[in-house]
């Protein structure tokens, strides 16, 4: 008979696990919500919960290394005289100079240009480095209107009216004082070093009827040349997509709750919005009901990481995807370099989400010249280019296996789900069954 062990039996509370205890005690000590970068860290239904059905007897595959699988996509065909032509269906999402270093913005622009895709400005306006580096640049019009001016509006290739972002639907921007350098402050017409909290609503319009008029104003200012995107956080997708279409958007950008941020309350990041997976299907269904699918293009973002994610998002009806955090990771975010600097932030490579501090060890999300110098724009651009290229090759591999000669030919019928939840959200059958939860079986 075994002797009873002397070691104590530790029993962890499911309600109060160690991280919850630590957060309560941090809040008790500091009296302030936790602010951090990145997107949701909780487990969510994702594109990993879907599988693609490769061809066999009932479908023909394309030859993987010989037959073409095109990846080009055109955005802004509805009203704009000069739609955006992209070589790949992966774009770089809006991220501000201020949140990101100038070197990071330049590197993203160079990489996007080399790959024939677009990059996007952010809260704080357009930098010259970014404009010069980016062949195709989308200019964001945000509630804060920091740095907004008609000259940059005209020299942009498209305009993106930002209603919200996935990390913080209904919330405004935030840039803590450590990152509000003299240059950032000057671009935003603010005192240097302040905690900059930007507005959550636009100053000169409220609601969809006003947005219709606002879009027409921007079209008038730019002589109807530029596509106008409307970027929204994924929440009430059916209604919001309908309203954006009615307001006259050329392109809808839909950002799921996995979408990243430079700084936002953790409670916001983890508890507001819906995941990208259900959002893309709801948006596609809504556009199809309106007869506007492929007429108003749909770009989805929030947690896109690989060619598999790209293929699945496109199969669910997106025209393109957009990446933010993944592009930063390709730049070097969370790379195991400068370990002592990670340690000084109280974190480690692979876990860091400390963009809000401005002390980014690898020079991506900082305004500190010494840290920024760690990110050499050309070398960083090469990494992002390699990553984008890999994503596209992966997506093409999957599309060819499904018999598609163009990425946009992927369709929901190419997908099955691994979980009932994902099946319900994506409205594709649970793998090995004909069962789509919530959809009546056909005879």
């Amino acid at each position: 008979m075994a002797e009873p062990s002397d070691s104590p039996v530790l029993r962890q509370s499911a309600t109060f696990p160690p991280e919850t205890i630590a957060e309560i005690q941090r809040a008790a000590s500091e009296g302030l919500y936790d602010i951090r970068g990145w997107g949701a860290k909780r487990r969510l239904p994702t594109f990993d919960d879907l599988l693609l059905l490769g061809a066999s007897l009932s479908r023909y595959p394309l030859e993987g290394y010989r037959e073409r699988c095109d990846t080009n996509v055109t955005l802004g065909t509805r009203f704009a005289k000069q739609p955006i032509e992209l070589k790949i269906p992966v774009t770089i999402a809006g991220m501000s100079f201020g949140s990101l270093s100038a070197n990071a913005k330049e590197a993203l622009g160079l990489a996007a240009t080399e790959m024939g895709t677009s990059t996007t400005t952010g809260d704080g306006g357009m930098t010259n480095e970014e404009r010069i580096a980016s062949k195709t640049l989308v200019y964001q019009v945000l509630p804060s209107r920091y740095g907004l001016n008609p000259d940059d509006l005209r020299r942009a290739d498209a305009i993106e009216i930002v209603v919200g972002q996935g990390a913080k639907p209904g919330g405004g921007g935030m840039l803590l004082g450590l990152k509000v350098s003299d240059r950032v402050a000057d671009m935003r017409t603010l005192p240097a070093g302040i905690d900059q909290r930007s507005a959550s609503r636009h100053p000169d319009w409220t609601g969809p009827d006003d947005l219709t008029i606002k879009i027409r104003e921007l079209r008038e200012i730019t002589d109807w040349q530029k596509p106008i995107y409307v970027k929204m956080a994924a929440t009430r997708v059916q209604y919001d997509v309908q309203l954006a279409v009615k307001a006259g958007a050329d392109v809808i950008v839909l950002d799921g709750m996995q979408g990243g941020t430079g700084a936002t309350q953790d409670v916001f990041i983890e508890h507001v919005g819906i995941p990208t997976l259900p959002a893309v299907r709801q948006a596609t269904d809504t556009l199809q009901e309106l007869g506007m699918h492929r007429k108003v293009q749909l770009v989805v973002s929030g947690g896109i990481r690989s060619g598999a994610d790209v293929a699945k998002a496109l199969a669910l009806g997106a025209d393109a995807v957009s990446i933010g955090v993944a592009a930063l990771i390709a730049l070097n975010c969370n790379r195991p370099l400068y370990l002592k600097d990670y340690e000084a932030l109280g974190t480690a490579p692979g876990y860091c989400h400390h963009c809000q501090t401005g002390r980014c060890p690898v020079g991506v999300t900082t305004q500190d010249p010494e840290l920024e110098a760690r990110l050499e724009p050309r070398a960083a651009a090469r990494r992002v280019r390699n990553y984008l290229s890999t994503m596209v090759l992966e997506a093409q591999t999957l599309a060819r296996a499904c018999g598609k000669s163009h990425m946009l030919n992927l369709e929901p019928e190419d997908l099955v789900a691994l979980t009932p939840e994902a099946a319900a959200m994506a409205r594709v059958p649970l793998a090995g069954t004909n069962w789509i939860p919530g959809v009546a079986a056909s005879d």
């Binding site: 001016n149 004082g177 017409t189 005192p191 000169d204 319009w205 008029i213 606002k214 008038e220």
Partner: protein, 227 residues
């Protein structure tokens, strides 16, 4: 004088004709008749044009104006001269909400009253209102001046940064972090010059000045109640 009748010409054609002057030193004045509350009249101008609109305008008249001098002989809808960069915009009547929103430069004169959120998110422009302004005016105003010859509604200058506010009449209430400040001789001199430039007959000595207490510039838990 070039006259454009908006009962015969649509907004697109009007704006295109005005934009075709962009970058030029337009010497011939433009007169626009029949506006009938239409939106986006004379937006995105980028030349030293003189444009007079005879009647009432809808949303965003003279939006993002650069260099041009636009006069509306009537009332204006929301977002008048939004994000103006330079030049002057004058309205002889009243203006609806969000007049001069996020204006980076230039001078906006409203001879009558302005509704709520006048000068919201102001970024360097000057706004002179001959009458009164509604609630939440100069909300989050960052730079520039809002001068109100009448009264100001509740929540004036809420979450204000470095903009300067002058009010001759009563104030319905100051917003978070907005406080009354001393008026020095230098302030009065500069205010007199601004009123003169705006063509508004008012005594600079009768205004009180408001601005930021700067207590909310960096978040502190003890100020949480102010948000």
């Amino acid at each position: 004088m070039i006259t454009v009748d908006l009962n015969r010409v649509d907004i697109r054609e009007l704006n295109q004709r005005l934009h075709d002057q962009n970058g030029d030193d337009g010497r011939t004045p433009w007169r626009i008749v029949g506006p009938d509350g239409r939106h986006s009249i004379a937006v995105g101008l980028d030349a030293t044009l003189t444009v007079t609109v005879e009647g009432h305008v809808g949303y965003y008249c003279a939006g993002m104006n650069q260099h041009a001098h636009v006069t509306v002989n009537g009332h204006a809808g929301p977002g008048l001269a939004e994000n103006m960069m330079s030049g002057t915009v004058r309205v002889t009547g009243n203006a609806s909400q969000g007049a001069g929103a996020s204006a980076h430069g230039g001078l906006l004169v409203i001879e009558g009253d302005a509704s709520s959120r006048c000068g919201i998110s102001l970024k360097g422009g000057d706004i002179v209102v001959g009458g009164s302004v509604g609630h939440m005016s100069a909300f989050m105003a960052q730079s520039g001046r809002l001068v109100v010859c009448g009264d100001a509604g509740a929540g004036l200058g809420d979450s204000i940064y470095e903009a300067e506010l002058y009010v001759a009449g009563s104030v319905g209430g100051l917003g978070a972090d907005c406080v009354e400040k001393d008026v020095t001789d230098d302030h009065r001199t500069r205010l007199t010059q601004l009123l003169c430039r705006a063509g508004i007959d008012a005594d600079a000595g009768s205004f009180r000045r408001y601005g930021s207490a700067r207590t909310l510039y960096n978040f502190h838990v003890d100020h949480a109640g102010a948000y």
